[in-house]
Structure formats: C-alpha cells, structure tokens
C-alpha cells in the first residue's frame, strides 16, 4: 500500500507508524499539514491508498481529513468521527442518546445557568473545556463557591467555547481509569492509568500506565461506542463506578499510544496497519 500520514508534530507514535509500515513493505508519504496547501478538486497523486490522520491540532486534523475525503481518499479517522470526538458535548450527548452510560452531564450557556445546572447534578462537579486534552483545565469544584470562580475564569478566557459550560458529576472512581483502543472492528488492547495523587489520571499529568485485562463487558461496551461514534482507530476513556460499573468518559480520535505499547508490549502500529490492509483489500 501507499500510506499517507497527515501530521503536524512527529511524536513517538508517528515515527513508530512510519517504521512499522515500512517493515511491512508499505510505502509511506508524509503530509505535514502545517505547511501544506489544500485545494478543492485538486488532482493529487491518486496512488495513496489510505491516509492516517495524526495531527495534534484538532482543527488541522478535522479540516485536513475533510479535504482528503472530498478528494475521495480514505482517511482514518474521517471527518465525521473526529467531529464527534473532538467536541466533548457532542460525544457525551450522542453516547447517552444511545444508552451508553456516561457521567451525568449538562451544558449551559451563561454563568448563572451553569451554577443552576451544577445544583441539579450535585456537588462535587467537574467542569471541562468542551475541546481539549491531556487533562488541561479540567477542574473539580467541591462547592458552589469554587465553581463560581471557575465559571468566571472561563467566561473571561479566550477559549473557543468560553460561553459553553460543560459540567458533570464527579465519578467516584478508584485511583485509575481505563484507556482502551478500537482498531478496525477489534478491541485488542488497553491500559489502566493509575494516579494516587491526582484525581485526573492523564498520563500527561504523571499517571502510571498498567496493562489491562479486557473482559467481555468492556469489549462489548467499547464496540458499542464505536458504533455510535464511528471511526477505525479510537482511544476510549472509561471510568469504573462501584454501583454502576463502566461509564464512558470520552473518545479520542487521534489517540496516543506510546505508554500502551511500552507496558503491554502490544504493537499498536503494526496491528493498525494490518487492519488497514484488510480494509483496503475489501
């Protein structure tokens, strides 16, 4: 195959993808989104069989996937999937519409209504930027006083969605959450992200990755998430609740997997490329 990789910052994942693709005998063409020009109806080298979207910038990812699809290329992940992942409100409300357990979540469009919403949910609550990652600016408010400050900070911030207050219940999870991967139609690997000190279990914030044994319930839930969100390569974040069981926090459309490979020994890049081979042959 000729595999195109759309990217802006070459991280471990992108390098590893290039290496594994070459090992499997594929040709790799890198498309550095930041310095590319994308035109309607542009005739590009049609020999590219598939593009893999790896841009860190959500905006670049979304738009460059869209453009490539408009030129009739297959892109993983496609624009529609990315839209559903990048915007946390879209993810949550779509999942809950399809009866997939999510934290009790609401959205309000002005500071007073945000406080009213939090009272309906019950403290402590978590407030998050609708778009963002690595735990950035995800905050927990124990009471209304604290939340009022967060809401005020957000209202004066330069966030894109500063007028949209995305607030949810604090799920009393153990000192960890689950990151599990969809690759093609399979759920081959996942990790726990453990942090004893910070309730935010992002590895970017110092959580330890540990291998996860995937049980049938988790596998089925993850595949159900894929049915709703779409896509070919997803990183799904899941909480464990003592009473309610698994609760889906969010879905990542350009997932990182360096730590997953490190602690499980599972070759994510190779598995992904093999799955793409199957897809392209069809």
């Amino acid at each position: 195959m000729r595999i195109g990789i759309l990217y802006d910052i070459p991280r471990w994942e992108e390098r590893n993808l290039i290496e594994e693709a070459k090992k499997l005998g594929h040709e790799v063409k890198l498309e550095y989104t930041k310095d590319s020009i994308f035109l309607t109806n542009e005739r590009r080298e049609q020999e590219i069989d598939v593009f893999i979207q790896r841009s860190v910038s959500h905006n670049k990812a979304l738009l460059s996937s869209l453009v490539m699809e408009s030129l009739n290329f297959t892109v993983i992940n496609d624009y529609n999937t990315l839209i559903r992942c990048e915007n946390k409100a879209i993810t949550t409300f779509l999942l809950s519409k399809h009866n997939i357990p999510t934290p009790k979540t609401g959205i309000a469009f002005n500071p007073e209504k945000a406080l009213e919403l939090a009272n309906k949910i019950g403290y402590p609550v978590v407030i998050k930027p609708i778009e963002g990652s690595w735990g950035r600016m995800v905050a927990k408010a124990q009471d209304e006083d604290t939340l009022r400050s967060y809401v005020e900070y957000q209202s004066y911030s330069i966030q894109k969605f500063r007028d949209s207050y995305y607030i949810q219940e604090y799920v009393n999870k153990p000192n960890r959450d689950i990151r599990i991967f969809v690759i093609g139609d399979e759920v081959p690997v996942g990790i726990y992200r453990v942090n004893d000190k910070n309730w935010r279990t992002n590895t970017a914030l110092g959580a330890k990755a540990e291998p996860l044994k995937i049980d049938e319930e988790l596998r089925e839930l993850t595949l159900k998430v894929r049915e709703v969100i779409g896509g070919f390569f997803l990183g799904v974040d899941i909480f464990e609740d003592k009473e309610r069981g698994y609760i889906v926090d969010e879905v990542n459309g350009v997932p990182e997997y360096k730590n997953t490979v490190r602690v499980t020994g599972f070759n994510v890049s190779q598995f992904l490329i093999r799955k793409i081979e199957e897809l392209i042959k069809k």
């Binding site: 890198l30 550095y32 910038s57 959500h58 905006n59 963002g132």
Partner: protein, 56 residues
C-alpha cells in the same frame, strides 16, 4: 548532521539529516525550534506554544 541557524540567538544548531518537518528541537539558548523543509532545504523557526485545540 546539518548545521542550521537559530532564528532566536543566531547561534548554530545541529539537526539530524533525516529530521522530519515539524520536529521540535531545543536550542541551548532555551528556544524551542521546529524544523521546516522547503524545496529540500532545511531551516528552523520558532515552535508553537501548545494550542488550545491540541490533543488526542
């Protein structure tokens, strides 16, 4: 290795021959730089700060 100029301090920066566009290099002056390739020629520019829309 390729020898490039730091756009901040004008000092010399060593970059691998096979560096990819977008690769981030930290210079001894403290500047975070990114590799640019234009018509096969490599140069450096100031890297971006983490963007609001960056993530997985």
């Amino acid at each position: 290795m390729v020898l490039l100029k730091c756009p901040v301090c004008n000092g010399e920066v060593q970059v691998e021959d096979d560096a990819l566009p977008g690769e981030v290099v930290e210079h001894e002056c403290g500047a975070q730089l990114e590799v640019v390739k234009e018509d096969g020629k490599m140069s450096l520019r100031l890297a971006e700060q983490i963007g609001e829309d960056w993530g997985e």
